[in-house]
């Protein structure tokens, strides 16, 4: 580089040297806009089909330039995590930083290389645009700034959850899942974008974004407080919830590998790490000081019944719950094995509910020990929440043999401590979670008794396609040495000189008809025999409505085998409400939601 000495005077002639410019080739720039660079941050486009309306772009926008507008033509589906909101952008505020692009969970919003927009003072409306596949002026430009792996602002990978290995768990009923450590929980929680899709999807509308945020901030008590606003069965749901919230989670909608937040495990973590006494204090919050003088009877101490009781007691009413079995919890206790839901966790949920003032009468069977009429006489309202505790039978040939039993009955025996007759080999009919529960429970008992597992599970549904049970259930069952034969329909239970020797099945060709209705077709030629000392039927459950008694049954309106209820769970009989599995089908969180709904309606009814 040529040095210039400060003391040089320079020359008046030097500038003239630049006359040589006349000899140079002139530089000419074209009129009109040049093409922008490949990653230019121009005007936005938004793929309306990819966009799920989670509003993350609006939250990250540092200039408050994004308004979420509702587009009625787009279908909403809370259970799938789809809102009909879409971003509209105010170019009077936008600064083209592209943070919206980099945070979008579904990579729907992107920027083009279009960058020219001019208008007169009276056309300022043109600053407020609704980006679609085409940009501000409706013509398509090449893409500019789009999300890359580097620029992605979201942490898409779920923190791994530790599990007991199959060897370690097969001979006992210890809980399989380890649960998060504080560090992992905080990391997992930090992934949440607070879109609230989970909350919209949850039947009980649990405030997941709030408690996830609290967990992220290490304030677990606050988290539990959020949970108890909507769910007194948080221990149970922290373990066995069907978690549609995670199906709805916006992170789960991402392209490529993008896991939803482990909302269920986070809930479990918070519950496990706050003391019982503290939780009791939290549960009491908002309990009415003065008694209402009204009393309610609840039939069935399952999630639906107890949730209703919990709410009603907090409203100052007197609630008595009648339970036919020696302990409360309903199916969560007598249907879900310990390795999925340890009894002590369930006990705590129930203890907390009782601590608020819910009175549970055990071993009282309504219908025999006390009639519905009596309950009505003694109370202002009655809630029926007896669940689906009776197993259905295939009633195929031989199914009346004593070694052909129903899953729900067996499952009930184990926690009750009744002596279970453990067969050397067993065949389970059914492909749902109940079938899995009984198969895996029996496997454990077999391991304990004979040191080996011999369970065959036959299901109409096809693995990986129509199968009903959760994937992890299937995976874990296989790990535990259970053989699953899918697409097999039961034909008959084979009995040789009145001893059960096994089950005969035929192949299932198709399972749904054109309208998607459940209508299996069989290939009667394709026979298979499965040796077994016991056949367990897990095809379906029903409710023992006989306890209502002739009269009430006649008085009630019915809807295809179920008590007919309105949207608040109110039956056609003024003093009777019904909630939970028996009216809504099996699912804990639904039962909880139902409990709330019914309690709210009863309270309204009693105060009128």
């Amino acid at each position: 580089m040529k040095k210039i000495n400060y003391n040089d005077k320079g020359s008046i002639l030097n500038p003239l040297k630049n006359l040589q410019f006349y000899a140079r080739k002139p530089v000419t720039e074209p009129l009109g806009p040049r093409d922008a660079s490949a990653s230019y941050r121009g005007f936005h486009i938004n793929d309306l089909n990819k966009c799920i309306g989670c509003s993350s772009c609006q939250k990250i926008c540092d200039n408050a330039a994004i308004t979420m507008v509702e587009v009625p033509s787009i279908k909403e589906d809370a259970a799938k995590g789809l809102r009909n909101l879409r971003p509209a952008i105010d170019y009077g505020r936008c600064c083209w930083c592209a943070l919206c692009v980099d945070i979008c969970p579904t990579s729907a919003i992107e920027m083009t290389r279009e960058y020219v927009h001019t208008c007169d003072g009276d056309e300022t409306d043109s600053y407020f645009i609704f980006p679609k596949e085409t940009g501000i002026h409706g013509d398509s430009f090449e893409k500019g700034w789009t999300k890359t792996e580097d620029s992605d602002l979201l942490d898409r990978i779920r923190r791994p959850m530790g599990e007991m290995l199959s060897e370690a768990r097969i001979d006992n009923f210890d809980e399989i899942v380890d649960g998060f450590t504080l560090e992992m929980a905080v990391q997992e929680a930090s992934r949440c974008v607070d879109c609230g899709l989970c909350e919209d999807a949850c039947p009980a509308h649990m405030h997941a974004p709030n408690y996830i945020r609290s967990i992220y901030e290490g304030n677990l008590e606050q988290a539990v407080e959020w949970m108890y606003e909507t769910n007194p069965f948080s221990h149970v749901c922290g373990r066995v919830c069907t978690h549609i919230c995670e199906t709805a989670c916006s992170l789960g909608h991402g392209e490529g590998e993008s896991d939803p937040i482990a909302i269920r495990w986070l809930k479990r973590f918070a519950m496990d790490n706050v003391s019982k006494t503290k939780i009791k204090q939290i549960a009491r919050k908002g309990k009415a000081r003065k008694k209402s003088g009204k009393s309610i009877a609840v039939v069935g101490a399952g999630p639906a019944g107890l949730t209703a009781a919990f709410d009603l007691v907090k409203k100052g009413h007197k609630v008595t719950v009648y339970e036919s079995l020696p302990k409360a919890g309903g199916m969560t206790r007598y249907g879900i094995p310990n390795y999925r839901l340890p009894e002590d966790r369930l006990d705590q949920d129930i203890e907390v509910i009782q601590s608020v003032g819910v009175d549970i009468k055990y071993n009282v069977k309504v219908g025999t020990d006390i009639s519905m009429a009596q309950l009505y006489k003694d109370n202002h309202a009655v809630v029926m929440a007896i669940g689906l505790q009776m197993g259905r039978s295939t009633r195929i040939k031989g199914s009346d043999h004593k070694m052909v039993v129903k899953a729900v009955d067996l499952l009930r025996m184990i926690p009750k401590g009744d002596k279970v007759n453990v067969p050397k080999s067993a065949v389970v009919i059914g492909g749902g979670n109940v079938a899995m529960d009984i198969a895996r429970s029996m496997a454990r008992l077999q391991q304990q008794k004979y040191g080996e597992v011999n369970i065959t599970l036959t299901a109409l549904e096809q693995l990986g396609k129509t199968f009903l049970a959760d994937d992890e259930e299937v995976k874990e069952s296989l790990e535990e040495g259970i053989s699953i034969l899918d697409a097999r329909g039961p034909k008959q239970c084979v009995i040789k000189n009145n001893k059960l020797v096994g089950l005969e099945t035929v192949k299932v060709i198709s399972i749904f008809d054109a309208q998607g209705r459940f209508a299996p077709k069989y290939d009667e030629e394709d026979l298979q025999f499965h040796q077994a000392d016991m056949v367990i039927e897990a095809i379906g459950q029903m409710s023992d409505v006989s306890i209502l008694g002739e009269e009430l049954t006649e008085e009630l309106e019915w809807n295809r085998g179920r008590i007919q209820i309105d949207e608040n769970g109110h039956t056609s009989v003024e003093w009777l409400w019904s909630a939970g599995d028996m009216v809504k089908g099996p699912d804990v969180i639904n039962a909880v939601a139902d409990g709330h709904r019914v309690a709210k309606d009863i309270d309204r009814f009693l105060n009128k």
Binding site: S37, S39, I60, C95, D150, L153, D155, V193, D194, Y216
Partner: protein
């Protein structure tokens, strides 16, 4: 002060009179006013009048998520925005206790030097214009635009790159980029003679600039003058060398200086610095391809990102001097306090007022511009 609110000062029987120059005038890049008390055409005293570009950035930043601030920091200095992003990011990183991957640090260094080149080209033009020469202005701005093309190429934005993020940079370099860069550097070097002939060795300019707004080293130190303005007074001080950050300690470059501390010395320092930057960029072109790896250290999802309690004072050498960000976190999802220490806040107020004293009115603009002050750094 809004001009309409300005009251001309009535003086008794004295020949002194006050004039109000600005907020728009050739002396400054941006809006900035200067009130001069004159005796004839000699400045008796000057009073800087700022506030025309005050957008309350420091306040704004307290109300925005950590990451959202990246979109506004570059706006604090239009001609040289890159150091703002980098300094802010560095401060946040220090509080978090993370470091940008080495490749990201090299890319940041490249961005900073490119920005310096652009800023100096801009200043040449501006400074020349204050002496009534407009061609260098056209050249400077035209050549700066070529640098902006490169910024657009790898950051996606011409002026406000918004390219940095705590933990690294947002995007990999596009293919062929280093080639384009090296072509640009060739071109800029080829322009050296043109600039020298037209400006730096142009007797008309030299005469005007020499001795104009001269500052002794001790005066400079006393007024906390930094950057080229300080180096023009003979002190070879440069944050890049004396408080090293990013990868400057791995790079070879000289620190140009002059002794006389006047406008001419200042622009000569800048001229030499421009070529030092080119020298640095050439080394980066050579080294960068061999530096593999990620360009971002992951940070939590910015919507739920609480930066742990702490404070950090991050300093960088911008084209104007020592730029520093003092960031305080109370453990929340937004900064508790961000203080921007722009070099121009030292140059455009006290130093300018000091130098204007006794100067001739015609020189005031040149003194201002030779200090290369950036009003938004004062206003923030």
């Amino acid at each position: 002060m809004r001009p309409e609110n300005y009251q001309a000062v009535k003086l008794g029987d004295s020949n002194e009179y006050e004039i109000f120059i600005g907020p728009n005038h050739p002396g400054i890049e941006g809006n900035y006013a200067f009130r001069l008390m004159l005796d004839g055409d000699i400045v008796v005293s000057g009073k800087a009048d700022a506030g025309y570009l005050h957008r309350g950035f420091e306040k704004l930043m307290e109300g925005r998520l950590w990451i959202q601030n990246l979109a506004i920091v570059p706006r604090i200095c239009v001609p040289d925005p890159a150091p703002m992003e980098v300094a802010y990011s560095m401060a946040v990183e220090e509080i978090m206790g993370i470091e940008a991957p080495i490749r990201a640090q090299w890319i940041r260094t490249m961005q900073l030097e490119l920005s310096r080149v652009a800023a100096h080209l801009f200043t040449f033009g501006g400074h020349a214009a204050t002496t009534g020469m407009y061609t260098p202005m056209f050249w400077g701005v035209a050549d700066r635009d070529l640098v902006l093309d490169l910024f657009e190429d790898f950051t996606g934005g011409r002026v406000y790159s918004i390219y940095n993020i705590p933990g690294g940079v947002r995007r990999e370099l596009p293919p062929e980029f280093l080639q384009k860069l090296s072509n640009l550097l060739d071109y800029l070097e080829s322009r050296q003679n043109d600039y020298d002939n037209l400006l730096f060795t142009n007797q008309v300019f030299v005469e005007r600039a020499k001795g104009c707004g001269a500052l002794t080293q001790s005066q400079a130190l006393e007024l906390s003058v930094t950057g080229p303005n300080l180096r023009a007074c003979g002190l070879a001080y440069d944050v890049r060398r004396d408080d090293p950050y990013l990868v400057y300690d791995e790079l070879e470059f000289d620190i140009p200086r002059q002794k006389h501390g006047d406008a001419y010395s200042r622009i000569l320092v800048r001229r030499d610095e421009l070529f030092q930057s080119i020298r640095i960029l050439r080394q980066i072109i050579e080294r960068l391809p061999s530096i593999k790896g990620k360009i971002r250290t992951p940070i939590p999802n910015p919507l739920s990102w609480n930066v742990r309690k702490g404070e950090a004072y991050a300093r960088v050498e911008s084209s104007k001097g020592e730029l520093a960000y003092y960031v305080v976190s109370d453990g929340g999802d937004k900064p508790y306090r961000v203080h921007v220490r722009g070099p121009s806040s030292m140059h455009a107020v006290q130093t300018l007022e000091f130098l204007a004293k006794g100067a001739r009115l015609e020189d005031v603009a040149q003194i201002m511009f030779s200090l290369d002050a950036c009003p938004p750094e004062v206003d923030r």
